[in-house]
């Protein structure tokens, strides 16, 4: 009886429970608020899958048809929600198949956590079945990665993984877990991570720099803003809008900045970069102050650096100190969380309107409309243009849809012409230019924003890189609207071959299958449009559908995307034809 008394009197300790490493992984995910993940099972991750089976009421695992699809779906989810996307795969080929998505997430700063199984600790380095050094492979393309070899490490490392993925400049984290660690029993306790001593996610704001920047902005006669995804990642859309509306500064976007500011905002002057708008590209070299906000001066944005905005004072709002002066020399670097720095500078800038300067952008728009846009959106020729398809989608969705695009001509056309009313609505692979991104990303986007219309626009080349994800769409019944703009070419490469390689069309023409039949094989409603008079109705029908839908549009085979800054040329040398 004494033992019983003792047991009753035992002091309360911190709650912990004895569970397996595999179950701990699930509990960590739940503790981080994850209710959805994408993946593909296999030998070295089976203990975790066994737990996923037990926890399926709390945690929805979506089986993609390829691990690459799992990463892109996680990215799509992260991009529409602002939350961390999760992908899971087995060791060896499962892990290596994640690499493209991880690299994409790294260069586009998308918060994802990838979990991979690994052979048991005692087999590491023995070239065991499906062993691959995914830590070594993924190191240059992850924000952080870690190999767990014992269960007791799981809670701390998983907490750290989510913290690192989402904080500061977000990015992908990979956690590799040996099979023995998944089986091992241990006392589980979870504590969220709030800091890592060697990691400073947000640099300190310097009021001196903000004052200096405000002075330049207040004195500028022709200021121009180029904003990027940093505005979206920093959840600073409102602060950004307040800042530009007070200062009256014309604002152009990079493709990842698109949708941070409504397309029809009077100060939205369009896209910069290789296929961006005429005005913002040309006027980059005429402005007296260039205010870069949450963007990184990608070479596709700047063209030739030696002739880029040399006349302007450059102000760079940035969270990542390594981006400052990386490509473009900055006069004033305003480091910090853009939500805070913009809120601070708002107090110091004068109310202004740069009417005649803004008019210069409009004058350029007129030229671009005459030379390019008119023919894209209201073509006189017989063949359908990609632009008019986007125009019909705009008409049908009123700018309220999430638009996912892949990589190539259709992507540039989509970014140029798609209308957006709200942020986090343009999902595309910017930095890495990953063909095959869109179809799986659209699955994640729709699951992340189930109440919004999700339209995914893909070229015939990109589509076939991850076409197997139709299986995921079919199985999960996720109602995405798929539009394939089919020109039977790898259009962008063909365009370069035409312009820079004397029309030698090396391996860019595609003999395509019957896409409608394929879609129907996956029990998707599907339609193909070849004539202009059928286009509007087909798009309306697609948008009206409550289920997933496939629409193929046969577009002109050899159309080119203009304007265009030839590779290595100056933004001033942008071509209209």
């Amino acid at each position: 009886m004494t033992t019983q008394t003792k047991a009753v009197q035992k002091p309360k300790t911190v709650k912990s429970e004895r569970i397996s490493g595999a179950e701990a992984v699930i509990k960590c995910l739940l503790a981080e608020g994850v209710d959805l993940l994408y993946g593909y099972p296999g030998g070295a991750i089976m203990p975790v899958y066994d737990e996923l089976f037990k926890y399926k009421d709390k945690l929805n695992h979506v089986l993609t048809r390829h691990e690459q699809g799992a990463t892109h779906a996680a990215q799509g989810y992260a991009r529409v929600t602002g939350k961390v996307g999760v992908a899971i795969a087995t060791s060896g080929p499962g892990a290596t198949n994640l690499v493209t998505g991880i690299a994409d997430a790294q260069i586009d700063s998308t918060p994802i956590v990838c979990i991979t199984g690994q052979v048991a600790k005692h087999l590491l380095g023995s070239d065991a079945f499906q062993e691959t050094d995914i830590i070594g492979i993924s190191m240059p393309v992850t924000k952080w990665n870690y190999q767990i070899t014992q269960a007791s490490e799981i809670p701390e490392i998983m907490a750290k993984a989510f913290y690192i993925a989402r904080s500061g400049r977000p990015g992908p984290v990979l956690v590799d877990i040996t099979k023995n660690a998944q089986f091992e029993m241990f006392d589980f306790k979870y504590k969220k991570c709030t800091s890592v001593r060697s990691y400073k996610p947000v640099p300190k704001m310097d009021m001196g720099k903000i004052k200096a920047a405000a002075e330049v902005i207040n004195e500028a006669k022709k200021p121009m803003i180029v904003f990027g995804q940093g505005v979206i990642l920093g959840k600073a859309e409102e602060e950004f809008k307040a800042f530009i509306e007070k200062t009256g500064i014309p604002s152009a976007w990079t493709i990842l900045g698109l949708s941070a500011l409504p397309t029809d905002h009077p100060l939205n002057v369009g896209m910069v970069g290789m296929h961006g708008n005429y005005g913002p590209n040309r006027l980059t070299n005429e402005c007296d102050a260039l205010i870069a906000i949450g963007m990184r001066f990608d070479d596709r944005v700047t063209g030739d650096l030696d002739t880029y905005a040399k006349q302007a004072k450059v102000i760079h709002f940035e969270i990542d100190p390594s981006e400052v002066d990386k490509n473009v020399k900055t006069d004033i670097a305003v480091l910090g969380d853009v939500k805070q720095t913009l809120a601070e500078i708002l107090k110091l800038v004068n109310t202004n309107s740069h009417k005649s300067w803004l008019q210069e952008f409009k004058d350029h728009d007129v030229i671009e409309y005459e030379k390019v846009i008119k023919n894209d959106l209201h073509p006189k020729k017989e063949g359908l243009t990609m632009g008019e398809v986007i125009k019909e989608i705009n008409n049908a969705t009123k700018g309220n849809a999430v638009i996912v695009s892949d990589v190539g001509q259709h992507q540039m056309i989509t970014c140029r012409y798609a209308k957006f009313n709200q942020s986090k609505s343009n999902i595309t692979s910017g930095g890495l230019g990953t063909m095959g991104f869109a179809l799986p990303a659209s699955i994640g986007a729709k699951m992340g924003a189930p109440d919004r219309e999700v339209v995914v626009i893909i070229g015939d080349g990109s589509y076939q890189m991850t076409i197997q994800e139709l299986g995921t769409i079919f199985q999960t019944k996720v109602p995405v609207k798929i539009v394939v703009l089919n020109n039977d070419f790898l259009g962008m490469v063909r365009q370069w071959q035409q312009l820079f390689f004397d029309k030698r069309y090396a391996s860019t023409e595609m003999t395509n299958p019957d896409f409608v039949t394929i879609a129907k094989g996956y029990h998707l409603d599907a339609q193909k449009v070849t004539k202009r008079e059928d286009l509007a109705d087909a798009v309306q029908k697609m948008i009206a559908s409550k289920e997933g839908y496939f629409l193929e549009v046969a577009v002109e085979k050899e159309d080119n995307v203009f304007p265009m800054i030839p590779s290595g040329a100056s933004v001033s040398d942008i071509r209209l034809s």
């Binding site: 070594g136 240059p140 952080w144 690192i164 001593r197 390594s322 990386k326």
Partner: protein, 173 residues
Amino acid sequence: MEEKQIYTISIYTENNIGILNRLSAIFLKRHINIESMTVSKSEIENVHRFTFVVKMTENNIRKIIGQLQKQIEVIKAYYHTEDEIIYHETALFKISAEHLYDEKIQEKLKFRRAHIIAITENYFVIEASGLKIDIDRMYKKLKPYGLLQFVRSGRIAISRPKMAITELLQEIN
């Protein structure tokens, strides 16, 4: 064209597996050769110190430092020019025993920070330390005797300016 020069990079990191890969990958990605490298403990417990020597422009070294600094487990990265540091390298020369009593060799050892650290029947080993140039000179002098083996360490360096790493760690914590 901005001129390239020798820089010594000191990186304080957490002591975790794989950091060397993460750091060297940053040089690899930019096609930069690492001239020498040393890894050791630092003055702070559980903090490791990497010393890289590279030849590049100041503009590029700044960018590299930014990239190194950005790695989660890097606490702080610094770069220094030659006159900002006190540095040292060590080399070992293995020479056939027949030259052991050669007066010229003895003579050569006199004037430098060099001495014999091992003697066997067949060979003896000279240790020399100093600046890179000292070791280069010693190498030139000893080479005619036929080096059975030669090895040289990476650079170790102490900066003349302060590297406020302890304060930095306290601030972070």
